[in-house]
Symmetry: C2
Subunit: 435 residues, 2 copies
Amino acid sequence: MALSTQPYKGARDFYPADKRILQYLFDIMIKTVESYGYEAYDAPLLEPIELYTAKTSDEIVNEQTYSFTDHGGRQVVIRPEMTPSVSRMVAAKRQELPYPLRWYSIPNVWRYERPQRGRLREHWQLNVDLFGVEGLEAEHEMISVVDSLLRAYGADRSMYSIRLNSRKLMDLLMHEYFGLDETQSYTIGKLIDRMHKIETAEFIAQADIVFTPQQRDAGQSSKLFELLSLTSLDQLPEQLHTNPVCMNLQKLMAMLEQSGITNVQFDPTIMRGFDYYTDIVFEVIDTNPDNNRSMLGGGRYDSLIGLFGVDPVPTIGFGAGDVTLQNFLVSHDLLPHLSPKTDVYVILVGDVFTSAQPIIKHFRDEGVNVAVDSTGRKAEKQIRTADKAGIPAVIFIGDTEIVSQQLTLKHLASGDEQTHSIDRLISIIKDSRHP
Amino acid sequence: MALSTQPYKGARDFYPADKRILQYLFDIMIKTVESYGYEAYDAPLLEPIELYTAKTSDEIVNEQTYSFTDHGGRQVVIRPEMTPSVSRMVAAKRQELPYPLRWYSIPNVWRYERPQRGRLREHWQLNVDLFGVEGLEAEHEMISVVDSLLRAYGADRSMYSIRLNSRKLMDLLMHEYFGLDETQSYTIGKLIDRMHKIETAEFIAQADIVFTPQQRDAGQSSKLFELLSLTSLDQLPEQLHTNPVCMNLQKLMAMLEQSGITNVQFDPTIMRGFDYYTDIVFEVIDTNPDNNRSMLGGGRYDSLIGLFGVDPVPTIGFGAGDVTLQNFLVSHDLLPHLSPKTDVYVILVGDVFTSAQPIIKHFRDEGVNVAVDSTGRKAEKQIRTADKAGIPAVIFIGDTEIVSQQLTLKHLASGDEQTHSIDRLISIIKDSRHP
């Protein structure tokens, strides 16, 4: 029986045209974060399961990730995210590393779930982390990086909304305003995290289960729902306005505004799934009604590194996946046309494979990317292959060209031909490249 | 109990200095293969197990790879190599793709084995494949790419030896010269593949087990061993000299020599582990006696794509792993010093975080990579951080600088300072970068 040509469910094959898009996403990520002084790192794809069970239950890890037992009886996980790995690495060299430490990576990560729009089993995720800055300068920088990144793709600020919240503020609301204990707060937090996926009535019904009968009778669920629809810090109960947690958020918004980042909004529904966040969290939402979803997010997690038995390090970071980012760019028509990297297709005329090599080598040595057909088929068929591959031009090399050292370059889109010396053609080809 | 900071056994953490080396290896790979017209592709990390069991036993796949059952009961494998994946992708679009097709990828691959020098459980592997060329032009190109790659790292041809063999020639020798049947040939092939890891006596003893008593009595094992020590096609039994298989190898060596690739040698011990090779195979050996090992290899595999129920495509490819490549570069002192990508570290003097932003933004917009300390510590401490991080220079920004728009750049290695306008400094910084 013939083997299947299908990729594994929820994962993608990247043919050259797909890979060019992925590489374009990566190139802009790299350029942007490096302009802020971030340095690339990487970590293994497999990690011991303890790295993930430390902050959540074994059950959740086993259900939602690709975990298995290796031949040595060790339970391992294909990383579902990069934060535990980078924390482990920083903790391992806690004393030697220079702080503030700016690190980024673009790993592939895997999660076990039913594939759906914007969520696949394998995706690539830019991870940007700043270690060692306690003050709001860190939050300001992290959100500036996000803003610079989206603008580098050609987006303007009307296309995305930056939503801010604070875990500390939410704790305050839960404990002091609603009088919930820690377990109740945790469960309500998880409920808020998925509130955009469920109906209002269901949200209230589920919140009611968490509240005590007294709280329920006092209509706390509806009050919670109202509070979650606030869009400005000013709308919060007045006793909170002078609370340092609120003032901190307010100050950050002012700092961002001064830097021209005006599309920032308080959003108490932003919880972020992971338990490790300790204070300010943020997400970026596509404003296009057809793709009105969160496309990236992050926050401060000051205590994760302490789990490795070393002194904690104040840390803030964000992650941006390739799938949601690409959906955003497509939804705003921002994805450019990307050509193959090959500049020229060489068509050999006659038995010149060996004698043409010095010319071909000359092109390559000068930085021109040259594919040689090498099949000996008719010239027409060779031209058709170049065209199908998206290569913009062909060059013919036969005995005449080898003697004269004058070559003809044919642009496939226009059909125009020009005959020049090799060095002249090299300049022409380099000048005609997309920027 | 504190979590361990150790990475998974046989896998590596890449701190920025390590990642820079990896990225340097990748950059030269990409530049070289793209100069030959190869286009990047990618495939999922997980593949169905059938993709690997088709050409070998379930047992071997289970023993030597990371295979497991997913929650849906499907047996999957973390790819141990890329060739089955790329064959699957080409087969899936067999009719639509333009041939010759030139593809490359640099995936991470995993194999389950005891980690040792040059062999880790996770490594990165450049994969280069040319689909659709039947003639020796394909072999010539593939070996030229390998040669260009190593030379692009600064190697000269005395540092490596390119070893050629042919599976067809070996079959011929086994069947016609030694009179072995197919099963015997296969077993002897596997034995040759690991002959460099065992003693001569053990090789002969193991070969004796495969031979019949008559063959054994005729001293075939010793004859085989002698034959395997040949270093030139001329030394082969004379009846083979005019055989097309031999003449083909001879012709390829002449073509390579005409292109200046003179460090090529016939080596009948080159078998390559994988069963899918059909004809010419090759490996590149480090000539440094301290690291005298194979560092990359490949060959022709014309029938793999046919396993997917489509017409076969003549194919040739090679793989080059980062670990063996790095060992080669280190063994010849070819690894350059690599600096961080960050050009400048900004030290803020006084309460100027917000007012300094436009200047910092200007540097970034002009392509200068700028990290800002943002901790408010003493300037000395900030300078020490920059130095520790390997960032070559610092810039001080305080109220005076913001008013005058004249900044002082301090080079940390020399201690030299220069004060200029922002645009002048941008030029100076860009000019001082390593090429």
